[in-house]
Symmetry: C4
Subunit: 281 residues, 4 copies
């Protein structure tokens, strides 16, 4: 073995170990927060607050430059973070390949959201001025804000629990969703046929009367579309009483699943009362 090869291996090893340390900091898997995580969380929170507060003209107009600088600095930090995550991901075996591994890592939902949080900045920077009309600019602003809020969910154990619950209860949820869709279609069609003549502006067609159905069945009840005919009110009363119980179901399923999941996480494994071995649910 030549000395050069040795050096290469050594440098690769030290680079590997630096990569590994970096990867350990960036992608903690034990559920706790590193100092780096906390720094990023605080930065994202400040960022989200800035982007939200910026929409209030009175506040934005105090110092548009300050908002611009803060956004630029944040994007710079997020970009470095993104590049480092992408560089160090090859430490993990499943993303081991320098090109395809990194690409597959970049396409995971978490990394994709990280990209969406910075991409609009560069698109707005690089696109020729003529192309960026108001609608596209607004769309970029929406993506930027939503992606940054979504980045917070990486650190929320509540969201991870929710995803777990939705996965665990998917059979019940699909059953209930199919059933509720039928109920929703029935309610919307009935109200359309009952009210369209009396209120052609509010129950003009069935998709529009679905707005009434959703707002009624969720008990929100804005009052912007309300039946006025006797038939319509009678049907609406029956739909309200029958439907609300059934519409409360998916909420109940998700809610109880959420509680179970939380208890399970806190309590540790269930043991069989007969043989005392752990029962995997």
């Amino acid at each position: 073995m030549s000395q050069r090869q040795d050096e290469q291996i050594e440098s690769r090893q030290s680079s590997m170990s630096m990569k590994q340390r970096l990867h350990g900091v960036l992608e903690r898997s034990d559920g706790g927060f590193s100092w780096f995580d906390i720094f990023i969380i605080v930065l994202i929170c400040l960022n989200v607050v800035a982007l939200i507060v910026e929409t209030v003209d009175e506040i934005h107009d105090i110092s548009p430059l300050a908002f611009r600088i803060f956004d630029t600095v944040s994007v710079a930090i997020f970009t470095v973070e993104y590049v480092l995550r992408l560089w160090s991901c090859t430490v993990e075996e499943k993303y081991g390949h320098p090109v395809w591994g990194r690409l597959r890592f970049a396409l995971t939902p978490v990394l994709f959201i990280d990209l969406l949080a910075i991409l609009p900045f560069y698109v707005a920077l690089m696109a020729p001025v003529g192309l960026l009309d108001l609608r596209i600019l607004r769309f970029l602003r929406a993506v930027r804000l939503l992606a940054r809020i979504a980045r917070l969910s990486r650190y929320s154990s509540g969201l991870r629990t929710s995803v777990g619950v939705i996965h665990a209860k998917r059979a019940e949820l699909i059953t209930v969703i199919v059933f509720l869709s039928i109920l929703l279609l029935m309610a919307s069609s009935l109200m359309y046929f009952a009210e369209t003549e009396a209120q052609p502006d509010k129950f003009a067609n069935i998709p529009q009367s679905m707005w009434w159905s959703i707002i009624t069945l969720t008990t929100v009840g804005y009052g912007d579309a309300v039946p006025v005919t006797v038939t319509g009110r009678f049907l609406a009363g029956v739909i309200a009483i029958l439907g609300i119980g059934l519409f409360a179901l998916p909420a109940g399923i998700l809610g109880s699943g959420f509680m179970d999941e939380m208890n399970r996480r806190r309590q540790g494994p269930t043991l069989c009362p007969h043989c005392q071995k752990e029962i995997h649910e």
Copy 2:
């Protein structure tokens, strides 16, 4: 035994077995879906979407002919399906009689809905023009759409579970419904006497003030009928607080029954994966 008799029996047997195979495809009883079921479900779904989207004038006017053709083709397929179901039902012992068995099968709720889904098409086709004024045409359209949505429920295990739950909890439900009716009548009468003088248009009579009661007790709260007198508001506050808890009951009973039923169907007794003994929860 003459040859002719032999042939008759043979042909009857082969016809029987073809009928049985057809019946097996049309009416699967093991809870799974055959390729035929999936075809019909997709067709009904497309049909329902078409009938709903058709009510939006802008979409309907793009190509009224396309909607007409699609409806005619669908009805043709549904008619063939209906006739085949009726022809093959004699395979089942309880519908064995060629005439009375088929009639009794045709009057089961499921087949009756199948008929309602196609009948309006033929009524509109065959009726003399003079008889079909706008109201009857609208009624036929409503029946057509509602029956096709209802056809979907044949394939929804959620609906079957619901029917089971309502049956299992019927005693509680009747008790609660009687109680809630009394509450509803009380609330409506009280509000009528309190508000009719101040708002003779919104609380003109007790049936009309029932609209207020239902919308308030289900917490929908449109705001189209709202008490304005001091007495009315005081009563409404008491009714809202007292009544909402009691009105949430039937929802709770149905909801918990639904969950129990779903758990029961999926599980059977829980067994420990290590020692195979039953675990009493």
Copy 3:
């Protein structure tokens, strides 16, 4: 013993036994319904329907006389029933005294409601015309209708269960009611101070802003009183989120108590797993 005394005793005994049979029919205590109960329930139901439908002018004007006759006949039957109940109640030991026993029986809530259901008829009949202005007449009509609806509750096992539940959970309910009253007062006062300047007509004083609090905390949300100031909206948001959970509590307590009570009634007594004797809860 003279013959006359003998006869008196005999007549008293036969009268007693007729009274007892009558009392048995009128006041069944085994939870079932006698033919007499069913007759009275149907009569009350028809009566309530008539009184409700009567408030719709279009229906009342078809035949005011029919409504009048039906009411008179009903009151006659209810009066006979009332008198018979009062006469036969002395069969029960606790109402044994011919005068005081009957008076105490007449003052039980159930009998008092029976009286209220018929009294307005006689008051309206006997009072000098000058005394009965519109307000008093309306009050009499309200009492008549509400008392007849209330009479139905005698036959509703749901109501009896509810009374049992409220009694069983009274400690929790009082705790929660005190707590919610404090919450309600806090919310109303905060919103009054926040909104009274901006909307002096909707938040004129604290009792009036209680209307907002109740309608918001029960999630009815009519939208007739809505905060418009930034402070008011911020407070309202916090109140809505914090308060709704707490306001759902009494409903939850009553609801779960109701379910427990129903299960208990259906299932029979709980047995101790150690000694197999019945546990009185």
Copy 4:
């Protein structure tokens, strides 16, 4: 030991024992109510009623002097009570130091609220007239009323239970609150981008569209801000259905925790009345 020292000790002891008796009356720790507690509760209740009723001009104008006198007398009693509490608190070891102990006792939440209930009176009395403009006077009135309502919570076991529940469930609550905040931000941002162009007055900026989110997700649904665009209504429908289940969670967690806590306080382990063994439910 000189006689003088003896006397001093004796006087201190008798003073101590009087202090202790007073402290025992003022700060009962066994959960029951002394006659003094009941007197103060009744006085606070009357006071709160007076301050609330006073905001109704028609009632206040009947006799402004009566309200003034009642307030002055109440403040006098509350002041004496406050001073006695502060004087006698040194009986407790942790507040034993005559100065620092009393100061620390005065800064406990309960005593601080007691101070806030009387302080506004003295501020309004002593401040130079020029300083007290309407806004400050209103603020003082608000503090006075809110602090007196808050004083009632000292005697409400419901509030103590709630504080216990919030403490016991804090981990779940934080998880859920973080998750719901993300959901709230997402909903508000989405609706802002969807509706701001169509309704620039109601969805002018994201903080304003948070008002819509809170009122919709809590199912209050006033109807003062309602999406009108197709995109906005579609998003609102999805948010309503998805979000309501998740928003019901903190209520559910607090509610079930509240019930558990109440059961736990009342019961201790359940014993069989026959064999006195514990029954595991």
